[in-house]
Structure formats: C-alpha cells, structure tokens
Amino acid sequence: MSFLELRRVSKSYGEGATEVRALADIDLSVDRGSLVAVMGPSGSGKSTLLTIAGSLEKQTSGEVLIDGAALQTMSHNDKARLRRRTIGYVFQDFNLLAGLTAVENVSLPLELDGVQARKAHAAGMSALEELGLADRATHYPDELSGGERQRVAIARAVVGERHLLLADEPSGALDSTNGEAVMRMILAACKQGVAAVVVTHDAQLASWADRVVFLRDGRVIDQTVPPPSPESLIEPSPEPSK
C-alpha cells in the first residue's frame, strides 16, 4: 500500500484575475521502500508539491494521505506530531541550526518529540555513524564542509522511526560526487522501508529513483516506466536481420 498518496491535489495562490495555479489535479502515490523523483524546471510547482505532501502547506482542493490518514481531517497537534515523528525533510540549503553541533542538530527532532535527551543523543550518534560522520558529531555546521552538512541534514531527516523522506534539490550546490553520495544515502533509507520523494531539476539525481514523474506548469505530464533489467545495456545487441 502506498505510504504517501496525493489525490487530485490542486493549489492556487490569489483569487480571481490574479489567481495563479501552482498545482493542478496531481495524483501521486509513493510506496514504502520506494524512491520517487519529481522532475521539472523552476516554477513547475515541484517545491509546492513537496510542502503540501509534508503538511507544511495546505492544498486548495484534493486529498493528501499519509499512511492511509487524510491530512485535512487531522488536528494541528496531530499534524505537528506527524512532522516530528514520521516525516523527514531535506532542504537545498541544509537548514541546520548554527548554534548546535552536528549531533545536537540530528537529535533535536527526537528531543522536541519528548524523547529523553540521553536516548535522543544516542540515536543521533548512530544516525551520524551510519552516514560516516561519527568523528564530526561535536562540530558546528560552520566547521563542516558542504557535503558533510548535507549528510547531517539527511541524518536528521531519517533519525528515529521516520517513514517518509521529502527532499527538495537535496544535492543543492554540491559537486556531483557529493550529490551521488546524498542519493545513495536516501536510497539506503528506502531499502529500510522509508518512502521518499526527491524533487529536482537534475536528471542525474532523478535517475537514482525507482520512478521519475515529470512536472510542467503544475501538472504531471508523464512518468518513466520501470526499466528492464539494467543488464540489457551491456548485453551485445542482437544482429540486425538482413
């Protein structure tokens, strides 16, 4: 069953003559363990799609379901709990808190959720360890490289029992080797059952996804079909018939 589901979701800003339609009738479902990329140019509505899927913004019409529960029927508190416990966000510019160390940044969502400081710290350390950052745990964001900061942001997004990972241009201004490392981490989270959505304009990032959805002017215009076995690329092509 899909963990995230958008049903005919539309979003407009403004009214009447000045109305701007950011999203129109979006249907999208993401299963547990799968990575979906939403690919489109700037202004295609992909960031809006992500903030609506993450309950940070309300749609104008349509339904958003997370683990079968419709967001519009939830109270403010329920939604806040969902954001703290279930959803992890990764932003282009990392959004780490400058006054907290790497491990404090990662364990913060757990502490906000009422987890004991010691337990939260341990969970934060193990998330950092998994991403190869254990030796950076006590560094502040400005003491970390761009790639390390983004890894801390991913650790923060997957710490605890999160099931939905939403990433907006997660490789930001990173070079392609670091961008690849970011996608490998997101994929590793998916292998452990997380449902993930990455929005990007970058085909190389999108190509890590199981499915790529193409967005233009607020509409889904197309999507990739599951590829045949990758080995088909390296098998010699059959002789053309004469």
């Binding site: 140019p41 190389q204 190509s207 590829p227």
Partner: protein, 191 residues
C-alpha cells in the same frame, strides 16, 4: 573510439599476448565495449607494421605471440594521451534535427516531442545509475564509464529542458524573432 591507442596503453604496462590484450581491454572498460579477437589481431598487425610495437618471435602467429611497445609506440601513446580529440565541428545530431523539424511540421506539438525523448533518456540514465549503484563500489573502471555515459545523456536532457523553456518563452512573445528557424537555416546551409 581508438582501439589502436587503447592497445598501446595496455602494452605500456609491459609485454602481453593478443588474447590477454582483449581480456584486459574488456575488463578495463567495465565490459561495456566487447572487442572481437579478429579486430585485436588486425590492429596488432598494423601497429607492428607501423613500428609502434614489436614481437620477439616475428614468425610465430596465434594467441601465444607476445608484443611489446617500441620507443616510437611509447611516443605515440604519450602524444595521444595529451592531445584533445577533435571536437570543433558539432556532430549532426539526430535529436537536434528532430526537434527542429517538429517546429516546422503542422499539427506537431514540439513540447510533446521533447518529452518523449526526455523520458527515454531519463529511463536510460536510470538503468546506468542502477548498474553504478550495484557495481561502483568495487569497480572503478566501470564507474568511470558509467559516469561518462550519464554525463553525456544528462547533457542531452539539459538541452531538451532548455529547448522546452525557449519554445515556451517564444510562444509568449510572438513578436520576438524565433531563434530556432534561423538556426535551422544555418544547419541546412552547412550541409
């Protein structure tokens, strides 16, 4: 692709047999480019004729004949490695011609033509990425080949994205001189 120079490069490591050269060529390119053994021997014969490689046993034929680089071969190899390939004239790209043609054929939506190709390219990229995901950790050569292919495909997707954006802007500003037909004329002239 220069098989000739790739073989010189392999012989740069030390003397080798023909069969060995084929195996090393294939494994060294991530097994993406299969190489016919006949092609290996023909190329080796030419390299020997041109004095770039030599054999201890000129009369012997077959898989056990060993080859090594001559001084001239070594100079040729270094010159090749440090000379950029000729990229001055753009290739006549079928996809570019297709998109340009789509603009001229009545009833064809160029955006749809672009999307069909974009999706195909991204699907290919997904396959390459999956191969890289499985193998990159233990096969550096393969990762380099896969990266090269991904960047090549990515460049085409970026061109399609740019073309898509340009067409959209051109449609919004009908008075602006459309850039595409002019480019099309130039391409026709070049032919």
């Amino acid at each position: 692709m220069s098989v000739r120079h790739a073989l010189l490069a392999l012989l740069g490591e030390g003397p080798k047999y023909g069969l060995q050269l084929r195996q090393e060529f294939e494994s060294g390119t991530g097994e993406i480019w299969p190489l016919n053994i006949g092609q290996v021997y023909t190329t080796l014969q030419r390299l020997e004729r041109d004095g770039l490689i030599e054999s201890d046993e000129p009369e012997r034929e077959g898989p056990q004949k060993g080859f090594r680089l001559t001084e001239a071969g070594s100079a040729e190899l270094f010159a090749w490695l440090s000379t950029p390939p000729d990229m001055t004239s753009p290739p006549r790209d079928e996809l570019v011609i297709k998109v340009l043609s789509a603009l001229r054929v009545p009833g064809v939506n160029a955006h749809n033509v672009i999307q069909i190709h974009r999706r195909y390219l991204v699907e290919l990229m997904q396959q390459w990425t999956r191969l890289k995901e499985d193998e990159a950790d233990f096969d550096l050569q393969f990762a380099l080949v896969a990266d090269a292919e991904l960047f090549r495909l990515d460049a085409i997707v970026r061109w399609l994205d740019t073309a898509d954006g340009r067409l959209k802007r051109a449609a919004l500003e009908p008075h602006a001189q459309p850039a595409m037909p002019r480019l099309a004329r130039r391409l026709v002239v070049r032919r």
